[in-house]
Structure formats: structure tokens, C-alpha cells
Symmetry: C2
Subunit: 296 residues, 2 copies
Amino acid sequence: MQILVPFPGMEPLARRIAAETGAEIQPVDLHRFPDGETLVTLGGDPSGRNVAILATLRDPDLLALPLRFAAATARELGATRVGLIAPYLGYMRQDTRFHPREAVSAPIFAGFLDECFDWLVTADPHLHRNPSLSALFRIPARRVATAPLLASWIAENVPDAVLLGPDSESQQWVAEVARLAARPYQVLTKHRSGDRQVEISLPDSAVLRQGTPVILDDIASSGHTLVQTLEQLPALGAPPAICVVIHAVFADGADDAIRRAGAARIVSTDSIAHATNAIGIAKLLAGAVKTVAGAT
Amino acid sequence: MQILVPFPGMEPLARRIAAETGAEIQPVDLHRFPDGETLVTLGGDPSGRNVAILATLRDPDLLALPLRFAAATARELGATRVGLIAPYLGYMRQDTRFHPREAVSAPIFAGFLDECFDWLVTADPHLHRNPSLSALFRIPARRVATAPLLASWIAENVPDAVLLGPDSESQQWVAEVARLAARPYQVLTKHRSGDRQVEISLPDSAVLRQGTPVILDDIASSGHTLVQTLEQLPALGAPPAICVVIHAVFADGADDAIRRAGAARIVSTDSIAHATNAIGIAKLLAGAVKTVAGAT
């Protein structure tokens, strides 16, 4: 990769990735007209260069066509290759038909990106039913794992941490972070009692009184999972918990709701720029880009 | 075409097209999550059927992925063909690089639709530099011309009309509407005097005093073209004008600005649902669909 093109809001992360890779940063302008169309203008000459567009895919509907326009225009202007660094990869949760006649968005969105880009780098995509990115993407796609960074942050900042996985889906990942941080962990079980009431339980709630609870979540979107968990920890005798999330989607002020539910602190990686960012993933992304993008 | 799937807001036009074609209407649900993703759910079974999605492409950025999801899901569920009826086709105005390194959105957007659909029907796309839809689209694409309907409306409702084309681009089209309505026409010339001042002139302004001015415009988006024209007509001795537009995009309350600038009335086709709709194009669209979609 020679040229890094940060979409709006991605400039700070772009500078950190450029510092690792030596790439030149070229700006791009997205002008949104009031009729809902976007004019994309590249800020530099991509001719003969290996280009990466950096865009985190929160609000993917609004970003899809501008990404297509930017990639196609870089090619028209002579870019040798055009890749996408998407620290957060949207649409991965809709990976099956939960109800009849629903769109299975994950593979369709992957197909759209296949048509736009030559390669993809992302961080911890939500791959529940798809075992790997190569099952979804035809282009070379690399995922970086943030677990070692989360574990380091926890070991350094919460030495008495007791890790909590919010549901059975998170079991494997939380166990890995706990192993790397050399701290105990528990995975919560949810029980639905009535239409709107959810209760959680722990295999061994005594462990909660041995340290500071750290709730892990891969994507904090509505924040419901974290809020539900936080609301019930006091009944289990736990002190205020710290929430560590990978992707700070935080729709509609979800981070405020999480704080109101009792979080002592919320911490996230910088895959999505947010006030809670505390764990930088630029070096991880830069390493993966080197393996997939090629030098020229 | 056997099944017509109207996107949100398109149900009234769908009923008028279905009345012409005998197609069955099947609903589709678009659920937009607060994180900017959309879940598309088809409301009926498309298996073994020839499907048309009806969506007018105002706000194309927000519609692009949902269109892709709907089309791909209809195919996965067994639809034999999937076409798009887009009464208003977005992104056709960005048909060249007006400034260096700009995206030429029109052909890129056409390529996106090529990947989603088997055929396309639209009404009077803004094809200034692209001579025809076949220069842009690989899939069969049909355009219907609204000029006869505009002419009929004018002949019936403004018998003393003097047609005005707002700029030289509109010459050919305005001449055609005038011929069909059997009324005189003039095309305005714009002169830029200073940074923000635009003056208009007419080859023969005396004609304006012979009847009611009817300003034609294909796409009323910001409304600037109509507002500028309306503001200067009084100085030419003209009575209040009627504005007839094909596509009622009307971004940011542009229709109110047009009224404030002195329009006696604003009239549009129903290619985009709007309070100004007065000219129905369902029969035209239905006719084109029959030629391109096939019966099954």
C-alpha cells in the first residue's frame, strides 16, 4: 500500500496507520447534496499507485455508494490496486434468515464489497455462523484479532479483573481474552421471564466478589446487552463494572444508557472513533495490510 | 411481470401500474436500525415468478443497499427475473468530470444497478452527455418520454400557455412539448453578471405578454433554476408563471421557495410522490415494462 485515503472522520486513525506503513495520506471529499446524492472527489493522484481506502462501516447504507464511487474513480485514474481497510465491518450480524423471506445481508454486502475492492482488512468481524471471511468474500480478506490488545489493557488497568461474557456466543472469545490477561472469567446465561424481563445468572457468582467485573462485548450497538447485564450485577453482590467493547457503534446515545445503568467506565478500541476509545489498533491493521495489499 | 414490489411510499403508484398490467402487489418491509443498517423482508413468495421492484431513486445512497438486498433475496427465493421500475433515476446529472478527480457517478451507479437487476424502466432520465440508456446500462433499459403527457396537461389546463425553457440544455425537449401542445415557446439565456447575480434574457420577450408563461424543468432539485427565472419574469412584463416539472425532487423545501419566488402554480408528474403531482405516468411505465420484462 502506497496511498491511504481516509473517509470523513478517519483522519486520526489514518495518521496512525501511515506512521506504521509509510503510506502517503491523500484526502477525499464527500459532498452530500440535499437530494441524497453524494459527489466524491479524490484529493490526490492515484495513478500507478497501490491505494487503500480507510472507512469504518458504521452507517453502511450511507457509505456504500460513496465507497463504490471512490474505488471506481481511483481505478479510472490509474490506481494499480484498490483495497478497503474497514476497522468495523457492518452487516455481519444478519448472517442467516431469522424469519422467512428476510434478506441475509452479510453475504450480499460482502458481494458488494467484492465488486468494489481488490482486498479487505478488518478487525474482529462478527462471524457467528460464517466460520471465516473467506466463506463470505471472494477477494483476499484479512481479519485482525484485538483479543491480545484487550487483554493487555485489562491486565494493565484492572489488575483484579473478573471477566464476564454477556452470552454463550461470546464464550470462546472471552475465554481467550481471560487466558491472555491471566484473569478468571465467567459467561452469563440469560433467562427470559415474561415478555420484557430478562434475568441473568452465573455459573459461580461468588467469583464476582473477588475483583472488579469487566464485561466484554464485541459490538455495542443499542447497548441492551450491556445495560441488562449491568442492571443485574448489584443483585449478585458485584461492585460497579467496567465495559470493554471492540466496536463502539453506540447508536442513539447507547453509551449514556450504559453509564446510567451503572458502568464505572466504558472503554473501546478505535475501530470506530468515539470518546470511549482507549485501545489503538492501527499497528494491528497496518500489519495485516502488509500481508494482503502488496508493496506496489 | 407478475409481481410488483413497491418500496416504501410507492404503494399508490404501484396500484396504478398493477391496474394496467394485472401484476400482483407484494409488500416489502425495510427496517432501519439506529446503527444505519437496514433489514429487508419480502412480504410474499417470489418463487417461480417474474418480479419488478418499484422504487423511485431520490435519496439513492439510502436506497442502494436495500435495493440490492431485495433483489438478491427475491432471486435466492426463486424469482425467475428481477427488474427495477425507477420512475426517477438518480445520479444521472454527474455524467462527466466537471472538476479533476471527481467521480463520474452516472456510469458507476448504472453499473451498480446492472449487478442488481435484469432490466430497468425509467421516465425521462437526465441524459445530457450520454445519448441513450444503452450507453450506460448493460441490462435492457427502457425510458418513457413524458412530453406528450406534459403537453396534454398544458393544452387542457393553460390554453394560452407560452412555454419557457430555462436554459439551452432544455431546447430540444421544450420545443417538443410546445409542438405537441401547439403553443409557442422560448428558451432563456442566462448571463452571469458578478459573482452571484444571474440575469436571464429571451430572444423575443414580447411573446411573454401574449399568454401565461409555463416554465418547464426536468428535475426540480434545489429549485434554483426555477427561482431565478421566476424572479426575473416581472421585469420582462410577464404575468405570474406556472411551473411544470417532471421529477419533483424538491430538496429542502424547494417547492416553497419556488412559490415565494412568484409561481402561480407548481405541477409535477407522479414519478416522485409529492403534493404537486398532477400528471400520472403509470400507464406509460406499464407499457414499457411489458416490452422489457417479459410475461413470465
